[in-house]
């Protein structure tokens, strides 16, 4: 951890950059061919789903439009992955970099930043990606009235972001990005107090 913090500070001062396009091609191949080991589960309704963490990828949500994000400043070796989507930027990290440490450091440097690990639906990094921008989706008892809903939410120190008009009492609740969202959703689901709870995943989807 100390080493990482040091690296971050050095990175902030050094500001040496390679071009994004050069880096992207090389790093994509590295991260796509990885065999993934660390798994997590989440619950899509009542269906348990397994995902594989990619230790070499970092997701940055709402990235700055131009050039140098904090990630690049903090980790000069981080390489941007060519992404199809504007709302997320993926960064390739060198093998051996401690991903959670990177995220911790970035949160320290930028408390309102949204950084998350990247997961895959398969044990290979070629599979569909998903990541955790923050917030969870919760299906509450459809028979609950509004007062009951708010009482339950506040009783768990949660906050309603918005209601989803896809059924009764389905809400987006506020959590931090990254594993906090996954852990909160799983805890709620396993509590039996909710019908469903899962992260508001960013899921890879593409034009056809």
């Amino acid at each position: 951890m100390n080493h990482l913090l040091w690296s971050a500070l050095i990175g902030l001062m050094a500001c040496g950059f390679t071009s994004d396009s050069e880096a992207a091609a090389a790093s994509k191949d590295i991260v796509k061919s990885a065999q993934l080991e660390q798994t997590y589960v989440w619950y899509d309704g009542d269906q348990e789903q397994k995902v594989w963490l990619n230790p070499n990828l970092l997701a940055e949500f709402n990235p700055p439009a131009s050039g140098r994000s904090l990630v690049k400043k903090a980790y000069t070796d981080a390489k941007p992955i060519a992404a199809r989507h504007k709302g997320i930027r993926l960064w390739g990290l060198e093998g051996g970099t401690y991903l959670q440490g990177v995220i911790h450091n970035l949160k320290t440097l930028q408390p309102d930043g949204k950084y998350s690990p990247v997961f895959h639906d398969t044990p290979r990094a070629s599979g569909r990606m998903r990541s955790l921008p923050g917030n969870i989706i919760v299906y509450l008892n459809p028979a609950w009235d509004e007062a009951t809903v708010h009482r339950w939410v506040s009783g768990r120190n949660l906050e309603i972001i918005k209601r989803l008009e896809i059924g009764p009492n389905i809400f987006v609740l506020k959590t931090g990005p990254g594993l906090e969202a996954l852990e909160t959703a799983n805890t709620l689901y396993k509590s039996g107090e909710v019908i469903a709870a899962f992260p508001d995943w960013w899921e890879e989807a593409v034009p056809h």
């Binding site: 789903q49 989507h85 504007k86 639906d121 070629s126 989706i137 989803l164 034009p207």
Partner: protein, 616 residues
Amino acid sequence: MLRAGSYLFFGFGSVLFISGFLVSCGDGGGGRPPSAPTGLVATPGDDQVTLSWSPVSDASSYTLHMASTDWATWSLTLPGATQNNILTCCSFPNIGLTNGAIYWFAVSAVNANGESSESVHVSAVPSPAGDPLFLDQWHLQNTGQGGGTPGEDLNVVPVWNNGFKGEGIRIAVVDDGLEIAHEDLAANIASGLSHNYCDGSSDPTLCGSDTTASEHGTAVAGIISARDLDGVGGRGVAPRASTIGYNLLESTFISNQADAMTRNSSSVDISNNSWGAPDFTGLLNPTSVAWRDAILTGLSTGRSGKGTIYVFAAGNGGLQENSNYDGYANNRGVMAICAVGDDGNKAFYSEEGANLWVCAPSGGNNGHSITTTDRTGSLGYNTNGTSNYPNTNYTNIFAGTSASVPMASGVVALMLQANPNLGWRDIRLILAQTARKNNPTDSDWTINGAGRNINHKYGFGVINAEAAVNTAMSWTNLVPEQPPHTTPLATPGLSIPDDDPTGVSDTIAVTGSGITSIEFIEVTFSADDHTYFGDLEITLTNNTTGTVSRLAETHACTNADTGTSIPCQPSYKSWVFGTARHLGEAVDGNWTLTVTDLAEQDIGTFQSWQLKFYGR
């Protein structure tokens, strides 16, 4: 001497307007025929030509002459033409004028003493007034331009000529950016209803301050509703329909996916989705329960209960993937649209699948793609005009099932204008019923137990807009659905022989379903322990009718970027396949699922399966 010809005018909604001035109706005196008309001008229009000439003082009428290809092949004559023949000419033989074809015209003057010599001969090529790129839009009217097969198109021109251009119908383009100020789109943008998932605004053109890319949605929107007769670009399939942009692909959070399917659901008639899970891996890509619930919500509450029409891309991984591996495209609530080229044959990238509904044109195997709108200026697909249109606001290289989807949506808009009372199930059935059997020699065509042509490459065939709209106009809505019939979970637990075409099968007997006309079937299947699910071919057979749905095929899984092989994992675990191929068949009877491992190594078990039937 006048050629033995005659006259033309009108056909397939085509009109020849005659606007010469008739001044004198006398015989001209002097016992002579009138002098030949002068000043003949032929002005091309959309499937029509307007003729005008200077009046001949002693003419009592005029005779018009036309040649459809060259001056030597006159075909028809229309004696007695006058300015008033604009109406009366409709009773003459209907030979039609076709956009893109050259026609020659002449006029002679007539009085009691005879007929004059012909005027000078003039030619004209009908084309849509104000849509300069229309003639390149072979998907709208394929005359063989670019080497295509004439007639391999949407057959939409007759629908326009019948007065349906999509007025009053709203289509949400769920995509990346949509440039709502584009010169050929702006007039059809529904004000204030678009949504930007990056910043919450109602302008989905850009995500934040990044001005690059996000061109896909703009191209898709142009196929649906590029404005007609506006002096620029081409035209959409429904060129007067209203378009709304949701730039979901910039921020594909699950909550946004659900929102995009239901936002403005009282105002949105059609949800156009030229997107899906990543292609080219051969892997399974499920959807979230929130997205599925959003679809169900749209079906039950959209359009005041008549149901939002969801149109999705079948997918572009056709060299290795089946559309049934994509949880978006194989959902019961959507129509999965496949792609055919300008020869009517399957585009190489278009995914096969039992879930396919209908196909529509797109860039095909000869590379002849679709002309549509592009980001203004140097952005988008056409950045400098060197290998594309000089006007970089347009492109002629758009392709993929992405291009076919908005064609389907456009046709649905025309159907809904013709009959706004159609429910979502009615739309689907009409499209299936009126689809054209393309590529008729393809070996996969067969007829299901209800007499419908079905093909794993083409679904029910290629959309025929004229037939669909005509059918819609006189359609009686379907009776409500029966409650879905779900069979008990069958757990055969059969070991699947490795690399053995014999496979294993299990049969479910269904009785008392109450459904005599199937509209869709979901097949939930598990072989969770198989270590390479791509080895498996899976088929569902209705033993009563013999109709077979091929749900999965033996295939490799690959790294989409490098093409190198990767494990096909994880395997089928309560995976839900969809099939449309049993449309109209009855449920009751025996249904057999056959699972075959057609590649060596890797084994597993046919663990369980279940059927869920939808219909009436």
